[in-house]
Point group: C2
Chain length 226, copies 2
């Protein structure tokens, strides 16, 4: 598949790398290519700047949002929550039409510090906002309940014995995402229902971040133990 990953942050990059290793043709979309390539600072979690990462991933493209989106078969929204609608709009509603859009974002609002609040929750979600804004896209929310390090390497914690959730209105799109997750090694994928169930997984972000602080590492995942 030709895949467009919207957003240059650590989570999107990690997924881009995993998708490229599966043999897909991956382009990362950004607002300003020159600005992205001029970055030098690591992010708050200590992840290296985009150009440093790109050196070790020369097979992954970088392009303006619309160019990354043109002709892509599959999309990943890996922009920050607050920037997601604008980044997807720049990627092009016409490009997204009919395509699977894997949305891994969370509606984080850091204006009150840590832990963040959510700018939408409970009675609506960012996943639903995206689906409403791009009604022809086939939005599937997933992977938003864990640190990016685990997306393509679930065995990095508990030998892979943990859970990933999917939410979406399009059953075939959820099947495609579930197969993709399986190809990364995910074997406990729980389908929560329609895209409205993204409310539930987006609201897990506070307990995830507080747990990270409590146990001193982001390297964990939720497991539905039964």
């Amino acid at each position: 598949m030709k895949i467009a990953v919207v957003g240059t942050g650590f989570a999107g990059r990690t997924l881009a790398g995993g998708l490229a290793e599966l043999g897909h043709q991956v382009t990362i979309g950004t607002r300003d290519v020159a600005e992205t390539l001029a970055r030098t600072k690591a992010d708050v979690m200590g992840n290296v700047a985009y150009p440093v990462w790109a050196e070790t991933h020369p097979h992954i493209g970088l392009a303006p949002f619309a160019e990354a989106g043109a002709g892509a078969d599959f999309f990943v929204n890996a922009a920050s929550g607050a920037a997601s609608i604008a980044a997807l709009t720049a990627t092009g509603a016409e490009n997204l039409a009919g395509k699977v859009l894997l949305d891994i974002s969370n509606p984080l609002d850091f204006k009150n510090g840590f832990p963040p609040n959510l700018f939408v929750k409970d009675t609506d979600s960012l996943g639903e906002q995206i689906q409403r804004e791009f009604p022809e896209a086939r939005v599937v929310k997933s992977l938003n309940t864990m640190v990016g390090n685990l997306f393509v390497t679930p065995k990095a914690v508990a030998d892979g014995d943990s859970t990933v959730f999917v939410s979406g209105d399009d059953a075939d799109a959820k099947r495609i995402v579930t197969e993709l997750l399986a190809s990364f090694g995910w074997n406990d994928v729980i389908d929560l229902g329609g895209i409205a169930t993204a409310r539930a997984t987006e609201m897990m972000v506070q307990v995830r971040l507080l747990t990270m602080t409590s146990i001193g590492t982001p390297m964990f995942n939720f497991k539905i133990a039964r």
Copy 2:
């Protein structure tokens, strides 16, 4: 200890039974003893009416809220979320003063059907509302992320390999609750921080209920896999 369990529902009863088995003197508080003892119908989850349960637990008392609260050393709030403040007020702020109050409630609002919404979330929580209303009580939020069946029998799923969270401003109260949890067999207790972190665990209720629907059983628990 002399323990008052506020509320006659399945969750409170289960905890009352477990606490009595540990040798504590347990009284369940209710608004109207005669009304409680006249119940005959099972609840929506199929749990038997209070009098049927009470027949097999003759050592556990039933009393009006204030009477249950008088002289108790330890309190459990097992009332429904919406009824919690009123039930605790009837139990008596003077009785709660200085005592540990284990709050297992969730702020569920079913007026829009299933899954329920939350009547407080993200920037506040029911745990904090209770702590503010009863500033002299030592509120510890815990056990609100699982079905009541597991409270005192964690080994009922995954051989006990799952997680319980605690939130509270009083470190000594959290220690007391953590020891109580350990006596039930909980060996992965994660301290998330102050009572404000109850926001995080209360917001997990949607994903828990959707997961119950998806996998077809309430008999599971969150595990922080690491």
